[in-house]
Point group: C2
Chain length 120, copies 2
Amino acid sequence: MSFDPESLSYNEAGLIPVIAQDAHTHQVLMMAWMNAEAVARTLDTGRVTYWSRSRQSFWIKGESSGHVQELVDFRIDCDGDCLLVLVDQTGPACHTNRQSCFYTAIRDGEPVELMKPMED
Amino acid sequence: MSFDPESLSYNEAGLIPVIAQDAHTHQVLMMAWMNAEAVARTLDTGRVTYWSRSRQSFWIKGESSGHVQELVDFRIDCDGDCLLVLVDQTGPACHTNRQSCFYTAIRDGEPVELMKPMED
């Protein structure tokens, strides 16, 4: 392919932020990070693969939980320093078992819980 | 208000990534950064205000272009280290005059332009 993952702009830790959006509902699910190899693996396999900063290892989303993200579309922003992946999400995206990580709103200065954990 | 912007998790530069999503179309528009004071200003004024890393100054989105973002909803992720703002976007969000910064897809290894600049 002519797209080179190394052509993106990575931060000083070699990482680029990645927004995951549900391709069907358009809900923003989560934000995580990839390095150039995770970008290549995601494009090669169609299975969204991040870099875990806490574990310092590749993180094939859903590998242990089953809550996988199949890649539907892979997009780059104007500066090449942020990615948007549209995904087919199986189960909840959040480790709290909620559909999205963004389940807390601040309204009139107070936190409001927008979603409950999904049933197993 | 009981929500304290200082309670969020900022990176070593004192910044938190912010995803802007169109509240009406649900299109992901852009990703930028806020510091704690930009978070407070955004919530206080209802006008989305970032921190410009290149200019090292507050960046009231659209202040010079007129392409403002009125805050519709302010959301925090499960780890408190990423924000999602739902906005009422006037005009294009991208400095290239496109609706969204994520106008390039990678499909079959090749870049594909998804949007053209909007007419003035």
